[in-house]
Amino acid sequence: MTTTRAPRTAALALGDDALVLSHRLGEWAGHAPVLEEEVALANIALDLLGQARTLLSSVGDEDELAYLRQEREFRNVQLVEQPNGDFAHTIARQLLFSTYQELLYAELAGGSGPFAPLAAKAVKETAYHRDHAEQWTLRLGDGTEESHRRMQLGLDTLWRFTGELFQPIEGLDTDLPALHGEWRSAIGSVLRRATLTVPEGPQSGAWRAGAGRQGLHTEPFGRMLAEMQHLHRSHPGAKW
């Protein structure tokens, strides 16, 4: 454990990203296209849950933070709370997010801030997540006409949530806007190889898609939280 106290806002932002995406990936259990893919998605979900636990417990009780906060208190980006959709949609979300997360953790691991120890461990996991998403983007994009169409649709649909990833986070002295260029060229090169096109729409909408860091979330998030928190709220104080 690090002795430097993690800044709360930043720890919640990064921890909530990991927690919420982990929960979304967990929803694939029993529903993935093939058994092997189910294991891969569960693996990624477990990695993310581990990151979430470290981050959340650095600023409080992890269970309380996960199960007793209201929707407006969550600081995750809106991208990670988006429903799974079809497999291509999930892969698009994974590609957009894990590419960002890998860049961010690499940056944090290189620094000496309170997140450096976690980031050093997590960046390896995240590199694997990015690779997994990349492999599938290539196969779906350059697969059949139908898989290409669905992959492009997933990217187009989620694109407007990606601007938020690069908004500065309080307590995180990483220059997030500066990561944007690197992220864009990484995404661009994967999409080119996959015969897909980088979406042309704005990366945040008129109503500013992506205010998750401010606690404003999209409609599907409330239902996800209700399911995630149900048991803990029904039996307050129970131990398991």
Binding site: P33, L35, E36, H132, R139
Partner: protein, 96 residues
């Protein structure tokens, strides 16, 4: 996403971190060698570092037939002249 045509069977061989040789660990379905390798990593190595994985399409393996087991493997143990046990080891040969 069904049919073994799109997702053929692969055999997985793993060498553990301090292992000397690759051992058959199991099999899995994957669309191509790269995905087979990644799936094998998830299923059979828990991503432990420092291991080596081989994946081979099951169709590339030729197995001895169980029907021919007897003529194929019976070592003819009753014919001692088949075993190199009758040689006198010449003096001075140390590493045999």
């Amino acid at each position: 996403m069904s049919g073994s045509g799109d997702w053929p069977l692969w055999e997985v061989f793993v060498r553990s971190r301090r292992g000397l040789s690759h051992t058959h660990a199991g099999s899995l379905h994957a669309p191509d060698p790269e995905m087979a390798l990644r799936n094998a990593r998830d299923l059979y190595t828990r991503r432990g570092e420092g291991v080596s994985i081989w994946v081979v399409p099951a169709t590339a393996i030729t197995a001895s037939s169980p029907d021919e087991k007897d003529p194929f493997f019976d070592p003819a143990a009753d014919k001692p002249y088949r075993h190199p046990t009758f040689y006198e080891i010449p003096e001075g040969v140390r590493h045999l």
